[in-house]
């Protein structure tokens, strides 16, 4: 396999909380068109790394590039504009917005999101609204939440909120989706459906970078796996290779 320029690359990024180096000079890359798994014991720094990539935390050292562009230091709303989005591990749905509205707000560059357009209403705004509304309903159908489109997001069950997270992330028209434990708490039937949805989307050119603890999911879904421990990658390769890696076993089982 020829090594193309990776879609996402981090170079020696570091983030500390108090005295803890949550992510410690972490360098890794995600190739375009793959589903790349990110595994590691609790506290390995996986979620912190994700939050740096999407701009919620600024890295203290190092750089992050997406395609050819450096994105570290950009505010989160500009990074999502460039096509990187994350679905949160603990759902962060907008509670007192409806399920459908949660998707509509995620669609990028809505021409109606300024006070002048809000007051004087333009036809273009409402045509756009109509268009993304259809899109949002299709997306909800994909994750089987369409009967609940008008319910408040806070009224969904835990598993349904995970699905909403995924649908909302896809609504931003991303190139790269960071999934933080997307199927934890989702029932097995729906998990299967979700995973096949991911494969379909990957076939359509989307790239996924996924934190997942369920090794079955990692083994069957991921093309590449990166294992993290104490803030930096310790192994990388195909799922089988990583699973056999001694350093990985040691990290999980303790030395």
């Amino acid at each position: 396999m020829t090594k193309a320029r990776p879609l996402l690359a981090t170079h020696a990024v570091t983030k500390t909380f108090g005295g803890v180096r949550a992510v410690d000079r972490c360098t890794l890359a995600v190739q375009s068109g793959t589903i790349t798994g990110l595994i590691g014991p609790n506290g390995a720094g996986k979620t912190t790394l994700f939050n740096m990539i999407i701009g919620l935390y600024a890295p203290e050292e190092g750089s992050i590039t997406f395609g050819v562009e450096r994105i570290d230091g950009l505010p989160a709303y500009e990074i999502v504009d460039r096509g990187v989005v994350k679905s949160f591990q603990i759902p962060r749905e907008f509670r007192r917005l409806t399920v459908l509205e949660n998707l509509l707000v995620a669609h990028p560059r809505h021409p109606g999101e300024n006070p002048i357009a809000a007051l004087f209403g333009r036809r273009r705004v409402w045509d756009h609204e109509e268009m993304i509304r259809k899109k949002g309903l299709d997306m909800l159908a994909l994750v089987e939440l369409d009967p609940l489109s008008d319910a408040y997001a806070s009224d969904l069950s835990g598993g349904q909120k995970k699905l909403l997270e995924l649908a909302r992330a896809l609504m931003t028209e991303p190139k790269l989706v960071l999934l933080d434990e997307p199927v934890a708490g989702v029932n097995p039937t729906l998990t299967k459906k979700l995973l096949s949805l991911l494969s379909d989307l990957r076939a359509n050119g989307k790239t996924f970078f996924m934190i997942e603890h369920d090794m079955d999911v990692v083994m069957t879904q991921c093309d590449r796996v990166i294992a993290m421990h104490q803030g930096r990658p310790i192994a990388e390769g195909s799922p089988v290779e990583v699973r056999r890696d001694e350093k990985v076993l040691e990290a999980y089982l303790g030395a």
């Binding site: 962060r92 809505h110 809000a118 004087f120």
Partner: protein, 341 residues
Amino acid sequence: MAELTGVVADVSRFLAYFAIWGILAIALNMQLGQAGLYNAGIVGFWGIGAYAAAMVVTDPVAAGIATPGHWGIDQSVFPRIAGVSTSFAFGVVVAGIAAAVLAFFIAIPTLRLRADYFAIATLGLGEITMRVFVKNLQGVTGGVYGFGGIPRPFEFGFETYKTELSYFGLVAVALLVIFLAVERMSRSPWGRALRTVREDEDAAQAFGKDTFFLKLQSFVFGAFLMGVSGALFAFWLRGVFPPENQFTPQDTFTVWVMVIIGGMGNNRGVLLGAWVFLFLEYVTVRLPSWIDIPQAFAIKIFYFRLIAIGVILILIILFRPQGLLPEKKHVAKRPRWVLNW
């Protein structure tokens, strides 16, 4: 007949007062109910609006032995339309802009603060505005004396009921226009984006919202409305006076109580909240003149309203925290009229 005109004047005066507070409640609802901004400095924006409008509609007064003097504009520069000076229209607009500019400069350093810290900062800055600046700018604002002699757009001399009734009509139109505009904006995609900031600011950022800019828009627009309300209040009162006489933090908390009682996020609700609050005030003030109440009690009854408000507030927070009229689902809908541009 004399009695009837007296009642008309009294009721009109009260209803205009209600409309002025209604605008304040809607303005706070734009900031707090939509974008989740804990503005505790309402009185600063209201007061700046009142003073700015008062200066636009009065002639300047030079400092004298007994008066500190205040700024003003020579009223002859304003053209009159059908006998009504256009200075009032300018006054309202200038008041809104003055409050919006103040909000802009307050927002730049403070909008990064989260909920309760933002409340403390705005409370402090509102007080600084009124007590440090407005109260001490002797030759500009009338200093500790403030100034009176502010006219109304429509004056009918001794026919007080006409003056009061026409002013109520004017303020009612202002309230209606503001209500419809804010409702429309709340239902728009912009209102929806503001609510994402209210619900979860980090998530809003991660899903593409420039949350600082959205909060700034909401805060400045809300402050503009507070300034407009201040202008209408200055005309209503025919004078502007610095804190402790007017524009104390109690006014800020009154608006908060109105919004909490009525229903945060619901513009009809906050108007109902304003009504509940002010109607109690009106009734307790007028009751002794309507029915026979023992003298000792008659003086105190006004203060019983504070107890009543306190009890109502506690009951609502305990049993109906979403307010009398809770927020409705504001699903964005194409309005009846849209411009094609």
